[in-house]
Symmetry: C3
Subunit: 275 residues, 3 copies
């Protein structure tokens, strides 16, 4: 990736994030996109009313929130995935077009967005996913995204770690087979023997979506398992801490502060294992 593109990529999204909600001027790497998006931004700003109704929030969006998106601890693409997952998980459908536009602008591929929504059908429920699809359909049409940019229904799956999956299935079965045998079976298939192996969203990104949804909905009970899985899948400790920071702004301080002690404990235990 040429240096110039990187620099533009680093600068654009904060401006974009703001301009879509406010009246800041917008620039983009691609002229045509710029025009289309700027118009949307103008309409959005007029519709959103942030500068008029909440001048304080406008100030924070232009200051600390813009600075947040520029922090190097987490890429723009990852921040967009985290934020998009939170907005879908919380059924904030009226705000979803902005975060879908932002994800596409920040390099999240349409096929990845498709898989993020399907992944969240399992982690936050089918109605959350179908509500998001109704919105995404129009956003995809506006961006001229066709079926060729979306995943196949039944692609070749990634290889499975049979031993790890067998251990997981045995543990869950031993715990809950007598309580909800159907759920135990569905957790094996389709959840872990199909969904998690679909190739159009990397396992590390599926983990990013999963922990973002858990934190954004305040469901920290399953966070240790999934944060460990995320870090096994390549998420660094610095990135994980920054996911929580990003979610403080997009899912509220209380959810972030409920996640902090859980993450601290996971980090400490992993450090102990590696030490």
């Amino acid at each position: 990736m040429p240096v110039k593109t990187i620099r533009i990529k680093r600068l654009v999204p904060a401006a974009l994030a703001l301009s879509l909600m406010t009246s800041l001027p917008l620039f983009s790497a691609h002229a045509e996109e710029r025009i289309m998006t700027t118009q949307n931004a103008g309409e959005r700003a007029a519709k959103s009313g942030v500068p008029f109704v909440a001048p304080a929030l406008e100030k924070y969006l232009q200051g600390p929130v813009a600075a947040l998106w520029r922090r190097p601890e987490l890429s723009l693409r990852d921040r967009s995935i985290v934020t998009l997952a939170a907005v879908i998980a919380r059924n904030e459908t009226t705000e979803l077009p902005l975060y879908l536009d932002l994800a596409l602008e920040n390099g999240v591929k349409p096929r990845e967005i498709s898989e993020i929504i399907t992944h969240l059908a399992f982690y936050t429920g089918i109605p959350s996913a179908t509500a998001a699809i109704t919105v995404a359909k129009d956003v995809f049409a506006r961006h001229n995204i066709g079926a060729d940019q979306l995943p196949a229904g039944s692609p070749n799956l990634l290889p499975l770690d049979e031993a790890a999956e067998a251990a997981r299935a045995a543990y869950v079965g031993q715990q809950f087979e007598a309580v909800a045998p159907g759920l135990v079976q569905y957790t094996t298939d389709p959840l872990f023997r199909d969904l998690w192996l679909r190739p159009d969203l990397a396992p590390r990104d599926r983990s990013l979506v999963t922990i973002s949804a858990l934190i954004a909905r305040g469901q920290v009970a399953q966070l240790p398992v999934h944060l460990n899985k995320a870090m096994d899948n390549g998420l660094t400790q610095t990135e994980a801490g920054e996911v929580i920071t990003q979610l403080a702004f997009y899912a509220g301080w209380p959810n972030a502060f409920s996640a902090l002690p859980v993450a601290k404990d996971v980090f400490a235990k992993r450090a102990g294992q590696n030490g």
Copy 2:
């Protein structure tokens, strides 16, 4: 009930559930209903965009989710009540028309839907209920449901177990009278001396709605009390486990897995009491 009707009832709803969201052909026991519902289904499929935006979710809806609705551990009617309660409890109003249609198709009476919404006004808040009513009003009109099919405001109440209610009231009063005397009073009346005794939704079904709402919103703290009450009201252990399985798909895996250990503990304690 004649065998043929049962067979149709067993086959219809899964097809219905899918066809309302996708492009599957739809059939129904009643020709006129079929035509009307098929048109709605076609419009819904075109609007929903599931097959286009998320081909993987489309595949899961046609496979494991269709199979879920056919599982004999919980009736179609009960699955519709559980799912409807979850969607109302989570304020997923854009998806609500589908689940209201499905509930009516699967034999939930309009007067029961009315009481489910009123019950949820107490268990998930008045705004959740009034938002659902705005949607239900149009669905009822589309199905030609009139006031004669809806409950009276003040019907004759079911008999109260005075001893059990007195014990409950004494316990709650002793715990919380000094903290929130108003809430203690409102919990006695209207909650337990009026709402729970209204005759147009059976106590077992009120319990089904209550535990579905608790699980769907991740509020497991009150689940032991209400799961015990549900089983006292006639919900079997098999049905309770299947409620959790149904909610994994409609309120997300994390909520289901937070409910599992709670249910396991309730089941074990009840087995110990009966053993």
Copy 3:
């Protein structure tokens, strides 16, 4: 304030709360407002469908809920703030116009509503706030509220208790600096060194908004800290208990009952310290 006005103020809001959703006649202290609001109320009643779809809920709204709003343990203004915070925190945007109208009618100033929304951007996430702003913009326009009635972006801040803030920052930093340094920094600034010091919403009211949002979303983990802060800021124990009672109706019984033992414990510890 003359006695007559007080009496009217005591009578109006319950009638208003109901008439906006139902078909009750409405009266108001100001003739012009009455006409405008009554028309809205009529439209809302027709649109809401509560009396038709859920006659039982209609009965409860006219009985115990109307009585709730008249209880002297918490002022109408505070009840409106608590309820508005809950509705915004839970993204119940379709119901929001009613509760914004009710807040304005009950004496919550437009500049306070603006700050409530900005405050909730931090406590329940930016998307909750921007969704609320889209609704509030239209409500403000309908009430002819102009920029002169809204806060400045950067007003003179209230004085800071430097010692208390330094202690808080030291504790949070010691706990979580290694986990999420960005979040630790943002919690100091803008959260505690800017947002909480903005003058257009009193600290006691910011606390009221914060504990209402925590209870309404079921996030009791941070409730002890913020309930203590609320009482340090002037909220009485009676008012705090009544906040929970109000939220039983507007965020559901389970959230209220999860808050009760936490509040009981906070009250006991404070009584011990003062004894």
